[in-house]
């Protein structure tokens, strides 16, 4: 074989991007079929990775199979670049693939994400790789794989609509706030992974390619760019995204997804952007929220 890792990485033990070439070919073939059948979950022979299931082994395998030396990688965990999962996966690819990394959404060619879509609209040529825990949207309604597979085959999604209807009957509204089911290209009902439903509209007609990897469940699926992604709803109960009363306490951004931060045990709290890059970028450009320490930055 040829040089398998960049010579300056000091590693001789692993192939480029950790996976062996036959595994990459297998995953690459699955990715191409996934793109050709938008929303359909392609089974693949998921490998053991040097991290536990639940830490993004599916997303890591997809990223490892598509990444090349020219790529710039960004990894986010609940929107943040600096939380444990994001930091360790980013370090993993720096080590095994020696690729450039960034926290800036616009500079990245591949963005691996756990449960958020960046606030900044993605561009043509970018790839968003989702880490997926349970890829089957019907799994909690029907535990048997043989049955859910048949339901997808027959495009029989009545059970999902019954679930959403029962939500309305019990709660007066559809109570699902994350992993909100979508229909892709008018055919397959798909689980968008546990992203908040706030992000669902960003999947619709995105300029970027979206790939989903579920390591434990051994499934890969995809949404090509410019593809219709519709959140399931009813005429009299249309799909709605979350809204927030106040803007981000640090950067003042509105119409973004906010995380609650507990400040003390007296009930003090603040709401800040979940997308840390978006928040930092806004503050760098002079935007300030109500609780940003630097008052002089306020305009």
């Amino acid at each position: 074989m040829s040089p398998e890792v960049p010579s300056d990485s000091g590693l001789a033990t692993y192939n480029f991007a950790y996976l062996d070439e036959q595994t990459k070919r297998m995953i690459r073939r699955a990715i191409l079929k996934a793109i050709a059948i938008p929303g359909y979950q392609v089974p693949f022979a998921s490998r053991e990775m040097p991290m536990p299931y639940g830490w993004g082994t599916g997303g890591v395998q997809v990223t490892a199979s598509i990444i090349g030396p020219q790529d710039v990688l960004k990894v986010i965990d609940q929107g943040a670049d600096d939380t444990t999962n994001a930091v360790s996966i980013r370090a993993f690819f720096q080590k095994v693939a020696n690729v450039a990394v960034t926290t800036h959404t616009k500079d990245a060619t591949i963005i691996q994400t756990r449960h958020r879509i960046p606030e900044q609209p993605l561009a043509e040529g970018q790839v968003l790789v989702y880490q997926v825990p349970i890829p089957e949207p019907l799994r909690f309604l029907e535990p048997r794989e043989t049955e859910t597979r048949k339901m997808h085959a027959l495009e029989e999604y009545g059970l999902m609509h019954v679930k959403l209807y029962e939500d309305i009957a019990h709660n007066g509204r559809i109570s699902k706030t994350y992993a909100y089911p979508v229909k892709v290209a008018g055919r397959y009902v798909m689980d968008p992974s546990p992203t908040p439903k706030f992000d669902n509209p960003k999947m619709h007609m995105s300029d970027a390619l979206q790939l989903f990897g579920a390591g434990r469940e051994k499934r890969i699926y995809a949404i090509p760019p410019h593809t219709e992604v519709v959140s399931l709803d009813f005429e009299d109960h249309p799909f709605e995204i979350q809204s927030f009363d106040k803007p981000c306490a640090l950067c003042g951004a509105e119409n973004v997804y906010l995380d609650e931060v507990i400040l003390d045990d007296q009930g003090g709290r603040m709401f800040v952007c979940s997308d840390t890059d978006h928040c930092e970028d806004r503050r760098d450009h002079g935007h300030a929220g109500a609780m940003l320490g630097r008052q002089e930055a306020a305009e």
């Binding site: 070439e21 070919r25 050709a36 059948i37 598509i66 055919r187 410019h226």
Partner: protein, 205 residues
């Protein structure tokens, strides 16, 4: 060059990065049907296999992917070359093949005998790699569907008249169906089963 020497020649000089590069062309092409991708790597594939088709074989085929070759290709050095460089078994039955390599227009007939997947597992279908004369001029075709913003027009020389009706039959099977990679020398263009093809230029653009 003798057939044996030809079988041993070429391949990826840098298998890890070359196959990644070719795969990315395919991923970009499959997610944006109608865009022309150019393979810049010389793989010294035996004719009538084109350079892009040869690179696709090297990047995606291995012992897990039976390959079917159209008769003109089966009689060339291609079977030995593919066997040596990828380890893929060459099969006689179209329905056993994960990949099929053919030349247009002579060998193009219905996709019906290829694996088209099942309703439960539509991914278990053959990917057809079809060599055509040109992807830059010729008969205009308008493409639409997932991956395409509005519409895109491509020009292809060397597809038979009957291709549009074959493709419509393939479309009608969705989610089952074959996926196609058109190649012309070092250029390739992907047609996933979701793509709608109409003859002629885009009217409204």
């Amino acid at each position: 060059m003798s057939m044996n020497a030809q079988a041993l020649a070429g391949g990826f000089s840098d298998p890890v990065f070359d196959s990644q590069a070719v795969f990315r062309l395919l991923m970009d092409g499959m997610s944006r049907p109608g865009t022309i991708q150019t393979v810049g790597i010389d793989v010294e594939q035996p004719l009538p296999l084109g350079r892009a088709a040869g690179a696709v074989a090297l990047a995606l085929c291995d012992a897990d992917t039976p390959v079917w070759l159209q008769s003109a290709m089966a009689k060339s050095g291609a079977p030995q070359w593919i066997a040596f460089h990828t380890g893929a078994p060459v099969v006689q039955e179209k329905s056993d093949a994960r990949f099929a390599f053919m030349q247009s227009p002579a060998g193009i007939c219905s996709f019906g005998l290829f694996a088209l997947g099942t309703q439960e597992y539509p991914d278990r279908s053959t990917t057809l790699v079809i060599e055509v004369a040109s992807l830059v001029d010729g008969q205009p075709l308008t493409l639409s569907g997932p991956g395409i913003r509005d519409k895109v027009t491509v020009k292809v020389t060397g597809l038979p008249e009957v291709f549009l009706s074959i493709w419509n039959d393939n479309r009608a099977l969705f989610p089952r169906g074959a996926d196609v990679i058109l190649t012309a020398g070092d250029a390739l263009l992907c047609l996933p089963r979701t793509t709608r093809i109409a003859a002629g230029e885009t009217a409204c653009m």
